[in-house]
């Protein structure tokens, strides 16, 4: 009897392992892995909480691993060209049961492997049928297991308002992936998906989130509704949109749907298709990184999207980051006197981040700052020196042009993405 039991256990473990391999592999192209922005507390001595996301590990390509990110199933009735799970792709298919996902989440969470669950799915049967399963996992975790960790559910385009409402009650974050930055791109590569079906759950959620936030202000006991908001992902480099189009469309979604984050995912060529870049095309990682930097400038540094890209400047500079790029196009704004300028302008200086900018503004009340002070505050002086003056007689006197500065900075810096330089590869 005991032998059989052990045997069954092994079978089970093998089957689960196989499913996990298939369904984690299929989910990995969704780059969002954030688990922050929620404010869920542990209640009634339950399990877990969700507030400031933690990266529990990092993949070998340096991405944060924070959530158990899996598909419920990779069966799909759609045929989106860029997706490994598309109907016409000849691959191994698998599906988890609701209970299996729940068990994996709880057991990983207890071991401190993860912050929670990011559950997505291929579309089987129809949108509501799929969405109902996703919601059921979240509901079970919350109600039966008293789980307060982070839950991110994918909203299936075309799902009903009732299901979206339930999803909002149990999940911390919801997302619909736009995938293609423009409607035309979507038509070309995802003929089964309608732009309208994707927008619909987004606007429903936007309104529901606003409404619940209002209620929460009035009644402390009102239920939380998707406290970490909505996000989306766009794939970069599968279609010919330029950075100007991509960032303006991101800006539109931030403004119109109050999205918390837009993720940019460099297209990984996985399929042979005449509409797509060839299989040997490399992943546009530098471009992806520049888009994140630009996005960051829009959200946290007070830059307007058209200061970063516009019709004259439709592409982000790949050699240098968008902040430096803006600075050398706008040399008339510099030099900035760090002992006087307002925070807004200090934030625009290349080499000064948010933390050091705040330190500068606090510390200068006690006395004028010099280069040594700035260095200790974490300012990258090598970069900033071309754009600032401080309490010192030494400063950059040459009247350098923007392009000369770019050359000087490039000559002394190393990008973390410059891994194709052979001398650096030898390090490992």
């Amino acid at each position: 009897m005991l032998k059989i039991l052990v045997f069954l256990n092994c079978m089970d473990a093998d089957r689960i392992t196989e499913k996990l391999n298939i369904l984690a592999d299929a989910a990995k192209y969704d780059v969002s892995c954030a688990s922050s922005g929620s404010k869920r507390k542990n209640e009634n001595k339950g399990l877990g909480n969700a507030s400031n996301g933690i990266c529990h590990s990092y993949t070998e390509d340096g991405r944060c691993v924070s959530l158990l990110k899996i598909l419920l199933t990779n069966h799909c009735i759609f045929d989106c060209a860029y997706c490994v799970s598309r109907k016409s792709n000849d691959i191994q298919r698998a599906a988890f049961t609701v209970q299996e996902v729940v068990d994996l989440t709880i057991n990983f969470y207890r071991r401190n492997y993860i912050e929670g669950l990011f559950l997505s799915s291929g579309i089987f049967k129809d949108a509501d049928f799929t969405m109902e399963r996703l919601v059921r996992v979240a509901k079970k975790l919350r109600l039966e297991h008293n789980f307060h960790g982070y839950i991110h559910l994918k909203s299936i385009p075309g799902a009903s308002d009732e299901l979206m409402n339930e999803a909002g009650l149990y999940a911390d974050r919801l997302s619909v992936n736009l995938e293609m930055p423009t409607e035309a791109g979507l038509k070309l590569l995802a003929p089964d998906k309608s732009h309208q079906d994707m927008i619909k759950p987004m606007s429903y959620l936007k309104n529901a989130i606003i409404q619940h936030t209002e209620e929460k202000k009035l009644f402390k006991k009102a239920p939380m509704f998707a406290p970490a908001g909505q996000s989306t992902q766009v794939i970069i480099g599968a279609t010919p949109e330029d950075d100007n189009q991509i960032l303006h469309s991101a800006n539109y979604f931030y403004k119109s749907f109050k999205l918390r984050r837009v993720y940019y995912s460099g297209y990984v060529p996985v399929l042979e298709d005449s509409r797509l870049p060839a299989l040997n095309t490399s992943v546009p990682m530098v471009r992806e990184n520049r888009l994140y930097q630009a996005d960051w400038l829009m959200r946290n540094y007070g830059f307007h999207v058209s200061e970063i890209v516009n019709n004259q400047q439709p592409h982000l500079d790949l050699d240098i980051d968008p902040k430096l790029s803006w600075a050398i196009r706008n040399m008339h704004e510099f030099p900035v006197d760090v002992n006087r300028a307002d925070l807004k302008m200090i934030l625009r200086v290349p080499g000064i981040g948010i933390l050091s900018a705040q330190k500068i503004v606090s510390a200068r009340k006690f006395g004028k700052l010099n280069w040594e002070h700035l260095k200790r505050m974490g300012v990258s002086v090598n970069r900033a020196k071309y754009f600032i003056t401080c309490q010192s007689k030494e400063f950059e006197r040459r009247d350098l042009t923007g392009s000369a500065i770019k050359q000087f900075i490039l000559a002394t810096s190393h990008s973390k993405y410059n891994k194709n330089v052979p001398t650096q590869l030898n390090l490992f």
Binding site: N9, A13, I16, T17, L20, N21, A24, D25, A27, K28, K41, N42, K45, G46, L47, G48, N49, I54, C55, H56, S57, Y58, T59, E60, D61, G62, R63, V65, L68, K69, L104, N107, F108, R110, R111, N112, Y113, N146, G266, V268, S282, V283, M285, K359, S362, A363, R364, K365, F366, G367, L369, H373, R376, M377, K416, Y417, K419, Q424, L427, F428
Partner: protein
């Protein structure tokens, strides 16, 4: 120059501050260790840790600094980084001597140094919150071993207690030989006396029956989420320095 010899505790540090002001000492150096007659230093003073004196200094500091500022000072002390005693003392003296709150005077070398130490300690604390891996033992206890660079265990209690309220857990600092244990109600500091040699095998032998399965699943998951065409080892190692690997299930 007077060398003050103290016991390395926070109360000892505060008592030393008291003595500096009581004896109106100007130029001083702080030294951790035992007080021995007739060695090394010409002028030296034995700081005898005293709760009342320490409390008086702490009270004064609470007037001079914000609550957060006092906490940061404590965290910096707790880190036990060798050779930082004089910076801690310098910070405290600067805080006491100034008419206004100096916490944000980053132009001052002591303020800046404390801020650097706090940043290092915070980072280590965050790393521990991320990299601790619990292993489930047969008696239902979730056990984790750590070897942090600084003494951050006391700073971890709040996080783990509020997160894992419904299970018994223990986090043990192998380097400093003490741990914290949560029994579903409260946490307490503990020391274990297992033999150095067979520690890890003891723990593996005590695994509950599904522990190996979940470790195996996690390792598999970690492998599946990797995108080979994006490999960037430099970035990977920067995020998880190699010294942490030996306690990371997915890296063993």
């Amino acid at each position: 120059m007077t060398t003050l010899i103290y016991d390395g505790t926070f109360e000892g540090l505060l008592t030393a501050v008291f003595d500096v002001y009581a004896h109106k000492l100007g130029n001083v150096k702080l030294h951790q260790g035992e007080y021995l007659e007739g060695t090394l230093f010409d002028e030296k003073l034995h700081v005898v840790t005293d709760q009342t004196r320490a409390a008086r200094v702490l009270k004064l500091l609470k007037l001079k600094l914000s609550t957060l500022g006092v906490q940061r000072l404590y965290a910096a002390h707790l880190a036990e980084i060798p050779g930082e005693d004089n910076n801690l003392l310098g910070f405290i003296r600067y805080a006491i001597d100034s008419p206004e709150n100096i916490e944000e005077d980053y132009g001052n070398k002591y303020v800046m140094r404390i801020s650097e130490i706090v940043r290092m300690v915070r980072r280590e604390k965050h790393r521990m919150e991320a990299f601790i891996r619990f292993q489930k033992l047969r008696d239902g206890l979730f056990y984790a071993a750590i070897e942090p660079d600084f003494n951050v265990l006391p700073l971890l209690i709040k996080h783990f207690k509020s997160r894992y309220a419904d299970m018994k857990w223990m986090i043990y600092d192998l380097r400093r030989k003490y741990g914290i244990y949560y029994d579903l109600h409260d946490t307490q500091f503990i020391t274990l006396d297992f033999a150095e040699s067979n520690r890890q095998t003891d723990i593996v032998a005590a695994y509950t029956e599904d522990e190996n399965m979940y470790q195996h699943l996690w390792k598999n998951y970690f492998k599946s989420v990797n995108i080979a065409s994006r490999k960037n080892t430099k970035l990977h190692v920067r995020h998880i320095p190699k010294r942490y690997w030996k306690h990371l299930t997915e890296k063993i």
